[in-house]
Symmetry: C2
């Protein structure tokens, strides 16, 4: 099976486009020079290609297995994880004070993309660990950082996020896991958590669970949830692994995809209570989680990019090998491979254009995150924070839906062979399907976008983003003028849709949420592609860089603008259709034939 190759040229280009130079100028990130960025990407690419990618298919077939109460990861997993930790890859964006590399999140994002492309099931472990590290970094005590964070950043231990319960999925206000205060300041944690990614595994000596639970006197709802560190093994005074805590994996889910990523049902306190350590203050757990969740949502959006890239590479490889039928208009003797067929090209270009557009947008959002965290000017930080908040649901939902659609096209390019599991394309189609669901379903992302990010500030953040998009229109001149014009039309649609939402009644806004998000993604993707085309045209004219790369970028941008962007009008129509078509249907009408 063909292994994943990190698309280093496009990644470097997308980083630059996202403002990597500005990020490298932020206080504390001075080390992140162009040379260092390049070296990191190259090393990460080698690791993804040589270590993670070769385990992907076998991991899918083998899966993670629960045996006698212990989760065994797929063959090769443990060793790969050891190498991953030794390479320092867990620590890229974290504080050097606690074993981190102190590099920008933007750069970490490019690395993360590679792990998820090469092996999404594997990549989930560091992804969740990263979220847990972020929470402890921000809200943990110095002692907690020394005890847990350092070992999680170094990769000696891994972290998990325990939010969901059977009755508390999208609605975390329903969390029922109990936290009873002990006299020594610790808590007894009792309850069941589901869908816990890498809730148990055999790759490290310890696992640090972050668990949402309620103290007995906590208020109802979201304001009564606290956050606890619950290690699999308690930690002794000297920092080593101590006694087994009262937490165990009771079963693993049998899933459509990401088979090698154990998705655990976790039982806390079956023997009286697992020992938990409060993070921050009581009743503020959800607030802490949400801080981390924004970043996690960008990372899940990135998984959409990753799986799209992988599916594209696979489909391209097949299209370059397979010979079948003469293409229309072909006159020669030697029948070319199917990449010469117009419809195969249409599929490949759709895959390529969406992959590059979602990548550019995800990197851009993460660069804004770095700016929001570190810029010297409060005004600049605020604007960047607003931008990243606006784009987070778009990156999460648009990219992951695109991931599914691109993976589906990847199957199609292979014809009958695409449906045969050994080919590998089907795995991407299965794996991709989780990303629109977890870390807040895409419907929830759409609601987040329209209510919290657009309606709440009366469209101000959207207007600022739209204004910046219009600046890009002006830069598309000469041969690229048609791109600017098409982008302007897309922006007009986005503007109209935004105007329609601001001030509308909440039910109307809710009904329009998903098409609005899709419209936003489609236009923001075009914005990125036009920016890219302008940069590539300039570089090409100046004789800078790889001319084939730049002409490829111009070709992909062209396809996006002429063949994909025009969908904006359909999405706008759905946004402005109002609540009626969605809400004026009775339950009896839905079920009239059942």
């Amino acid at each position: 099976m063909a292994e994943y190759t990190a698309p280093l040229k496009d990644m470097s280009f997308a980083l630059k486009l996202a403002g990597m130079d500005d990020v490298a100028a932020l206080p504390g990130y001075e080390e992140a020079s162009e040379d260092l960025v390049h070296a990191v990407l190259e090393e990460a690419g080698k690791f993804a290609h040589g270590v993670l990618s070769p385990l992907n298919w076998e991991g899918d077939q083998h899966g993670a297995v629960l045996e006698n109460g212990v989760v065994r990861t797929a063959p090769g997993w443990k060793d790969a994880y050891k190498q991953f930790a030794e390479g320092g890859w867990n620590g890229v964006p974290f504080d050097p004070e606690y074993a981190g590399q102190g590099l920008p999140w933007t750069l970490a994002t490019a690395c993360n993309e590679m792990w998820q492309s090469a092996n999404m099931s594997f990549g989930l472990c560091p992804m969740l660990n990263q979220g847990a590290c972020e929470v402890i970094s921000h809200y943990g005590t110095e002692e907690q950082k020394r005890t847990y964070l350092e070992k999680m950043v170094s990769g000696e231990w891994t972290g998990t996020m325990n939010l969901t319960e059977p009755a508390a999925g999208s609605d975390l206000s329903q969390v029922r896991t109990k936290a009873l205060r002990n006299d020594d300041g610790t808590y007894k944690i009792i309850g069941q958590k589901i869908y816990i990614t890498y809730g148990d595994h055999d790759m490290t000596d310890n696992i640090v669970h972050l668990v949402l639970a309620r103290t007995p006197d906590a208020p109802e709802g979201v304001k009564g949830i606290s956050l606890f560190i619950v290690p699999k093994y308690t930690v002794t005074a000297d920092g080593s692994v101590g006694e087994r805590n009262d937490v165990r994996c009771v079963s693993l889910e049998h899933k459509l995809g990401i088979h090698a990523s154990p998705t655990a049902v976790m039982a806390y306190g079956d023997d009286g209570g697992a020992t938990g350590y409060l993070v921050g203050e009581e009743n503020r757990g959800l607030e802490y989680m949400f801080m981390m969740m924004n970043n996690a949502r960008l990372n899940v959006g990135l998984q959409g990019v990753s799986i799209a890239e992988r599916a594209y590479q696979k489909a391209l490889g097949y299209a370059q090998e397979r010979v079948q039928s003469k293409p229309v208009g072909f006159k020669g003797d030697k029948v070319p491979t199917i990449i010469a067929h117009a419809d195969v090209r249409r599929m490949l270009l759709t895959m390529k254009a969406y992959t590059e557009a979602t990548r550019a947008l995800a990197y851009y959002a993460m660069a804004q995150f770095d700016v929001a965290e570190r810029h010297a000017e409060p005004e600049v930080r605020k604007a960047a924070a607003e931008r990243v908040a606006l784009l987070t649901p778009v990156v999460k939902a648009w990219s992951t839906d695109i991931g599914v659609e691109v993976a589906s096209l990847g199957v199609q390019v292979h014809g009958g062979l695409g449906f045969v599991e050994e080919t590998g394309a089907a795995q991407y189609y299965r794996d991709a399907r989780i990303a629109p669901i977890y870390e807040g379903t895409n419907g929830i992302q759409a609601n987040d976008l329209v209510f919290r990010k657009v309606a709440r500030d009366k469209g101000a953040a959207a207007a600022s983003c739209i204004a910046e998009m219009r600046e890009t229109v002006k830069t598309a001149e000469g041969d690229l003028a048609y791109m600017g014009e098409a982008l302007a039309e897309g922006i007009d649609s986005l503007q109209k849709a935004t105007d329609a939402l601001v001030g509308a009644d909440p039910v109307t806004v809710a009904a329009a949420a998903y098409p609005y998000l899709r419209l936003f993604g489609t236009v923001a993707g075009a914005w990125m592609m036009v920016k890219a085309a302008v940069a590539s045209a300039k570089a090409k004219a100046a004789g800078e860089g790889d001319p084939t790369f730049h002409s490829a970028k111009l070709a992909t941008a062209r396809f996006y603008i002429t063949n994909l962007l025009p969908q904006h009008s359909g999405h706008l129509a759905a946004v402005t259709a109002g609540a009626g078509p969605v809400m004026d249907v009775t339950e009896d009408e839905f079920a009239v034939d059942l």
Copy 2:
């Protein structure tokens, strides 16, 4: 797991809309009264619900297995097949002279939809058998009909279609299986066939393979392929099962979905040659196959409808049960189920509207097929044949792509549970994925549409269909006038796209093929929905039928028209973008980062 319920009200309605009354007036179909149609649908629905549906999930998990050279179907399969055959379900559309029921294809189509909805893996066996029966019905000798057809129609034996070889997939001109003439008029068949659905199984005493092969002196290419009957066991003079023929299943594919449908690699002639019997004349095999293939393509299109219906039922059931978060604007005490959430409604309505639109179009196309076969007037037959030829690639490709998209939405409605296999929604997502691939990939369907069905007659067949669509616009009056206006805009897009293709150079046509097909489906679906809305409004006003059904139909049509139809403009833009964006990309540019 919730079982499938045949949507009898919508099926009856769609049959009527498709012109079932006219079909029942065709010579030979007089028996197909409204009462009989109703009785057949009711019985088929019971069988699908009670016998086929309960086997679907276990069949998926168990799969078909090759053991010691014999394929064993999943538990319960053999008995279900016996009941299916005894019920006469194989024979619905076939000649009573050969064990058939002599009923219209249109009615058989509604039954077929049920088999595929209830259990797609099971339904494939009768679907392929039906194709084989059609071929022998048309081109077999009287003796072949008595020997094979009768038992295939009765269900005592099953039939298979053996077209594909490793180097001959989409391009059947590459068929290399050999047929050597014996002195007694039979042939020795030697070669390998792949992707043979139910190529072997344990449900019947014999299997009748229809095999494409080449005689030694046959011309190269498509005009040198002959068609043979190759029974698994040769048949004795008295019609009973004789000796084992030299054909066997050498392996089964490990597939993404339809696990319980054995997809076989078949070896012919490993011991010197399988005995084959020529169908019709030598070198005309592909022509015979194509005759059957049109019908088979409609049936595969129908599978898209079937899986969409099943996915909808499943998602609706979950949405009516699951409680999670208060919907926007909800003020009451008891939090309703998630069907009250706007975005869940959007997903369910998208599923419902597409299911009903694709169903209506598939039934309509099949009714035109019946008219084309049986109408007394040659002119009417010709027009109907032209219409069914035009719509066949649309029904096949549009419905099956919709099937995948609807199944994906079905997973999404379930949230995390959708990704857990035991829920069942994931199976539809996996099963659905084959339909855009087999029986001519959707890319091939798109080429068939633009070249053979539109460009070849200079748009005449399309123009005739468009003219009829415009008649429907006129009938949308009063409250429904907005639907007529929106449909008219869609038709204008289709008209412009058609004009752009007629007379264009072939490469431009090929590049526009898929978006044109998608545009055609979107507009034809709207045509059907507006027809349906007009009929329902009339019936409601007249107090006829179930008022909830009619108001549901009006609601679904409204959603289709306001929220889905507007995509036509995006598709039109892709059609008129020309060949450049697709063709002006070098292979180096595709692979610039690999």
